[in-house]
Amino acid sequence: MNPVIAVSNLGKRYGHTVAVDDVSLEVLEGEIFGLIGPNGAGKTTTMECVEGNRVPDKGTISVLGLDPQRDANELRQRIGVQHQEAHLQKRIKVWEAVDLWQSLYTRAVDADALLTRLGLEAKRNAWFMTLSGGQKQRLFIALALIHEPEVVFLDELTTGLDPQARRAIWGLVTGIRERGTTVFLTTHLMEEAERLCDRVAIIEHGRLIEVGTPDELVQKHCPERTVVFTSDDASVAERMQAVGAVERDEGSEATYAIRGMGDEFVTDVINVIAREGIRVRGFHTEIPTLEDVFLKLTGHGIRD
């Protein structure tokens, strides 16, 4: 797969504040790439430099083989953009916005079909100010997709939305990838990154600290696995010692936690339980997520 976005040694400062410091990354054709990190980490600035809406101080950027500053006009025809906390004119109607956007591009999809796909057909004549948060974001996705762009930029797409609206948006984003469009998104929601992204880059204080698939990052930085099970069998602790360190849960006499490393660990535990014929009333695994990776790499949670 070819990189459609190539960023090397990007730097941007505002006054004395360094927003982006020596960031290099590649986004491959057809993938959903997520830039993740806390608010103020430099996600939006990086993305805006790549879109060509902000002038970097240092470094080179290539998007679809174009220079976002020099070839801005050509690039804008080929990329779609959704901004964080964007707005339109309060009293613009949904169809009017779509109609205006359509007229700006040399290539455009069928607007009605797009509105239907995004579940906005009933809102065609509604003023922008009357839309719910989820509807506004879906409209912005529609505007970002109206010209069948090759790359779509989505900045904090679901911030401020309720869980139901968020899930609906996630479905739409995976739909964009299925149509062959490359997606570059930012988010501070680890669950969102884990659900959507093929690859993620973790950014903090303007620096990129890690890049990879969510699975890779979890395996690399948080290989610990925990199996928690409940059993009335009193001899569990000694019979399970072969697989890992066993701890009895202080809250409940019959609950045990076994810790170990690697993907094989859970299978090993299950095999021993089966071989030893231990009766188990409850069983679950605790597998680290991207959130844990973030915590480990930065020393603090993402919402700190």
């Binding site: 901004h83 004119q89 613009i92």
Partner: protein, 251 residues
Amino acid sequence: MKRQFLRGFWKLTWLETKIFTREPMGFVATLVMPLLVFIVLGRAFGANKPVPTTGLDIPFNPAILAAILIAISAVQSLVAIISIYREGGILKRLRATPLSPITILGAHVVVKLCFTVISLALLLLAGRRLFPGVMHVNVFSFTAAVLLSTLSILSLGFIIASVVPTARFAQPVSAAVIYPMIALSGLFFPVDRLPRAFRGIALLLPTTHAVALLDGVWDGSGWGAHWVNAAALVVLFVAYTAVSTKVFRWE
């Protein structure tokens, strides 16, 4: 460049016109307020005297004041819109499209000029009915003078719109510029009688030349006699627009 400017221009202009008419307050302020001022003052000071500008019992020409108010309300409206658009991220969103920045401003200017013409037409119609015999001004010449004045005052509005930090500041900042500007414009007392420093400032303000030109067109001496003011309006427009493109911020 020309194709770039026109891309979406008429669509955006039409769209902004529709959006403007959906905002009842702005609509009323633009079309009704200057008309109301004209009628009330005209009645109060007896504008039914044949030539108001020469009548001693009327210190100023209500029609010119109303025309200036029309231009001013266009400026205030433009400043408010641009600052709201900037604060709300609308400008930023539009900027990320193939729309050129000049197209966005241009569309708003055309909308403002259209409403200026409508509002002026209402004013002249009202004048013909309420003060018969007074309104013998050349309608086209007067309209052209008002449009040129509005455009020139709008360019000062661009600068205000470029520098006000938030929409909340737009109103007081434009008021702080506009009221002294009207005071110095020569509408209420002649510019010649201003202290020297103020006279210098007055000459750099578009309203001063607008009042002189409108006065001239009104009393029949016309564009020829006031070509200096007309030229000054054009020069100020170019200069102020150039400054505003330097200081303009999209977010």
